[in-house]
Amino acid sequence: MLVTQASFAAALLAPDLPCPAGLRAWNGSDPGARLAVYRNNVVSSLIDAVADTFPVVQELVGEEFFRAMASLFVRQHPPRSRVLAHYGTEFADFVDGFAPARAVPYLADVARLERARVLAHHAADAGALTAGMLGEAMSSGEDLGALKLVCHPSTSVVVSAYAIVSLWAAHQGDGDLSAVDPTLPESALVVRAVLNVLVLRLPPGAARFVIALQVGAGLADAAALAAAETADFDLPNVLALLMSHGALTSVQISRSRSQ
């Protein structure tokens, strides 16, 4: 009896499937008990990988609940990459749709924040834009509308209807968790400053501004979008915040404003 890798792989991820025929043990004992070692290796190691990426999600729901939720996730969404740093992209959406987790409405957004941290950790290296470089570009006589700011590869924004930055920070021992009102909306800036990944609470309009930059909007257009969202948008303050944490790498002159 030939055991195909397709049937073996299917049995690993589906605990209800019988042990494939064609496997044996030297003492004639049930090969299913031995297959269980592989089943456990696969599922446990993947749950561990998910737990490594989402430690605050685990703290929020407890280890037992988390591992039960993650075991369903790894069976429904096994890795498509051999590089486990890439694993977990679908986890936040999975949590969003996981009915037993609905009692913690901010759980999926905390997962998005933690996933963004791992991506930032491994993102490409790049230099940081300084205030001097930006000032030089702004005083070069170019139309301000032609200036484009390039974000650092590690930079990302997580927008939430919940206080995800305060919740996350409290789980790092920074702030009192019981004092956090989770229903206050917060947007997070995630960026790696040289070696350390930072999570910062963004001021009003800043999330809209950074997201616009990331999809290619020019400086003036991005600022206009942010200002349209909130009258509290403070461009100099936001630029200073982004530059001081290395979230921008360069300024480019774009000849076409429509780009």
Binding site: M1, R24, D30, A33, R34, Y38, V42, R82, A85
Partner: protein, 313 residues
């Protein structure tokens, strides 16, 4: 050479800063090494322990940038590196993942490891990566396929690879040869080297009621380029027979140390990695295990073959 002059010549070599290579081909120094773990990066760079080499899992470094590359680059300036793949899936029924080979090639060009090794196992099926080293039937079709894949790896990476013997928990009715014969044939046909994982020998031989010494005797020991030592966990099968699990989460077992000494008696001093991937202890604890391996190498070796001068007398 008299015993006295041997001792003098030996002592004089203590001043040599870098351990010489015992094997004539380019390879790891015949010393002990440990796995390089992120939690030990700063300790390694500050203390610069006297250790033969560091080993990393290739897939952990297949990321664009950040601290992993930063620290591996710094450590590589001071130590030989062994690149150990865990995701190539050489035993897969499907063809090798050429994009993964490209990523390995890029890592090898960047870090210039002195050794590259992978496993006699499969870990991916179709697009799905199963994150475990899964077993193979030892039959002619599998042998042909594994040899073809090893040939392709060596051609693409332009170097000889080492193939590691696996820990297994099951056997296949379809197998027509034993594992040592299978591995010997892969090595004979492809010219690859052997990464002899002595813990895996102990685990698999216990799990399948084989004689570990006989198993080792059936391998082409001249092809051993590296040895792995690790710890295991103990479970039982459905009949209550011991079922050892390759956990990489415990100190090396005394039975494995004994088997290692028996291997060294046959091979002489050989590059040896202490593997610990789970419940990783302090760097000092790993270095103490590495020291024990070096002590056994010294005890097993003619002085001229020993790459270790610390503790040899």
């Amino acid at each position: 050479m008299s015993t006295l002059s041997t001792a003098i010549a030996h002592r004089a070599k203590r001043a040599v800063p870098a351990a010489p290579k015992v094997r004539t081909e380019a390879g790891l120094p015949a010393r002990a090494g440990v796995g390089l773990k992120p939690q030990h990066f700063r300790d390694v760079l500050e203390a610069r322990p006297d250790i033969g080499f560091f080993e990393v899992h290739a897939e952990n470094y297949m990321v664009d940038g950040g601290p992993l590359h930063h620290f591996l680059g710094l450590v590589r300036e001071h130590y030989p590196l062994s690149l150990h793949g865990v995701g190539l899936s050489i035993g897969a029924e499907g063809s090798l993942d050429e994009a993964h080979l490209d990523r390995l090639d890029a890592l090898i060009k960047r870090y210039q490891p002195v050794s590259f090794s992978e496993h006699l196992a499969w870990s991916s099926h179709g697009e799905v990566f199963l994150n475990d080293l899964l077993p193979l039937p030892y039959d002619q079709a599998t042998l042909n396929r594994v040899c073809h894949h090893v040939d392709r790896v060596q051609e693409r990476l332009q170097r000889r690879m080492l193939l590691e013997n696996p820990s297994t928990y099951l056997e296949f009715e379809a197998s027509t040869m034993d594992e040592a014969a299978f591995i010997s044939e892969v090595i004979r046909r492809t010219g690859c080297g052997l990464l002899l994982d002595v813990n895996n020998v102990h685990v698999s031989c216990t799990n399948h009621s084989r004689d570990a010494v006989g198993y080792i005797g059936g391998l082409p020991l001249h092809a051993v380029g590296e040895i792995h030592l690790a710890g295991f966990a103990t479970d039982h099968d459905a009949a209550g027979a011991p079922l050892l699990i390759d956990s990489h989460g415990a100190p090396v077992d005394e039975a494995v140390w004994g088997l290692y000494a028996a291997v060294l008696a046959r091979t002489g001093a050989t590059p040896t990695l202490l593997e610990r991937d789970n419940d990783v202890p302090s760097l000092a604890t790993l270095l103490a295990e590495a020291q024990r391996a070096e002590d056994l190498m010294c005890a097993s070796s003619e002085p001229k073959r020993c790459g270790i001068y610390r503790g040899c007398s």
